[in-house]
């Protein structure tokens, strides 16, 4: 059993990172993170584990609400800033776009693992799935994203190889 302050200290960065990719905006992610912990502080902590599954269940519901309300009231600012985006944000935007095209459940399962570092059991509890279903979904989503993000992945590989070569030269 953890109290709400303990849960906040242990998990708020993970929750924030999940929101950043799930909603694609840092400011909205901050607001939603605050909302999660506000809800936690208002209700008794209903968990026996370290609380991450419970927190992420709340977080996931907030993301679903957010997407529902955005589909009713789309934000025009994303379109306005499209052309003025700096080059280094292109990869991030491409990632957000690819994640946005995924089914909600696949996106959330993937982000909880890849960005927030939850284990399969915790994700299974948060998303009401079995651990086997989580494993299959994560793998399937990885393969799908790898195809959609082939160009940024190739760039990342090249950069990693260049860095590695530089390090090896420095060592010699």
């Amino acid at each position: 059993m953890a109290d709400s302050a303990g849960l906040f200290a242990a998990h708020h960065h993970k929750v924030f990172k999940y929101f950043c990719r799930a909603v694609g905006r840092g400011d909205t992610a901050r607001d939603l993170t605050q909302e999660v912990f506000l809800r936690v502080s208002r209700s008794p902590v209903a968990t026996n584990g370290d609380g991450s599954a419970w927190l992420f269940r709340i977080a996931r519901n907030l993301v679903l609400d957010h997407h529902r309300s955005r589909s009713r009231h789309p934000e025009p600012s994303a379109l306005i800033h499209e052309a003025a985006r700096p080059a280094h944000q292109d990869v991030s935007a491409a990632v957000n776009e690819a994640l946005g095209a995924l089914p909600d459940l696949d996106r959330d399962v993937f982000l909880m693992r890849e960005v927030s570092g939850l284990g399969y059991d915790e994700i299974a509890e948060a998303c009401e799935l079995t651990a086997d279903a989580v494993r299959s979904r994560i793998h399937r989503t990885r393969v799908q994203l790898r195809d959609q993000l082939a160009a940024p992945i190739a760039t990342s590989r090249t950069m990693a190889a260049t860095r590695s070569g530089r390090t090896r030269k420095d060592d010699q």
């Binding site: 708020h12 993170t33 506000l38 990632v95 960005v115 494993r135 299959s136 793998h139 994203l145 590989r157």
Partner: protein, 115 residues
């Protein structure tokens, strides 16, 4: 495992896997490419936004503090009122208070004199 490469995901995620399955998956160039691409994918999906310093919201505790403060003020007001009343009431409650002014009664005399 549903596909021969799912074991690569389990390995990447630090979940239980069969080493034999992993060896078989990595014998295949497709499996090796998938492993490297998955690592690169993990790198590029990390958000760049930084979490600003935040403190835990604790409205429930703040609400409790307010109730405690209000209760303390109420107790202090009641106690103070009691003590002030106690100090002012020097005479016992069942006795009449001492007179503060004595008025002397004078026999009535009409203006026209006594007939």
């Amino acid at each position: 495992m549903n596909t021969p490469y799912e074991v690569i995901s389990a390995f990447l995620d630090d979940e239980p896997f069969d080493p034999e399955d992993l060896a078989r998956a990595l014998d295949d160039p497709t499996g090796r490419t998938l492993l490297i691409d998955s690592l690169m994918l993990r790198r590029i999906v990390q958000p760049t936004d930084v979490m600003p310093p935040m403190t835990a919201a604790a409205p429930a505790r703040r609400f409790g503090w307010r109730i405690a403060a209000a209760a303390a003020m109420f107790v202090m007001a009641v106690t103070g009122g009691y003590l002030v009343g106690e100090r002012r009431s020097i005479a016992p409650a069942d006795e009449a208070p001492p007179p503060t002014r004595v008025v002397q009664a004078v026999p009535f005399t009409p203006a026209g004199g006594v007939r």
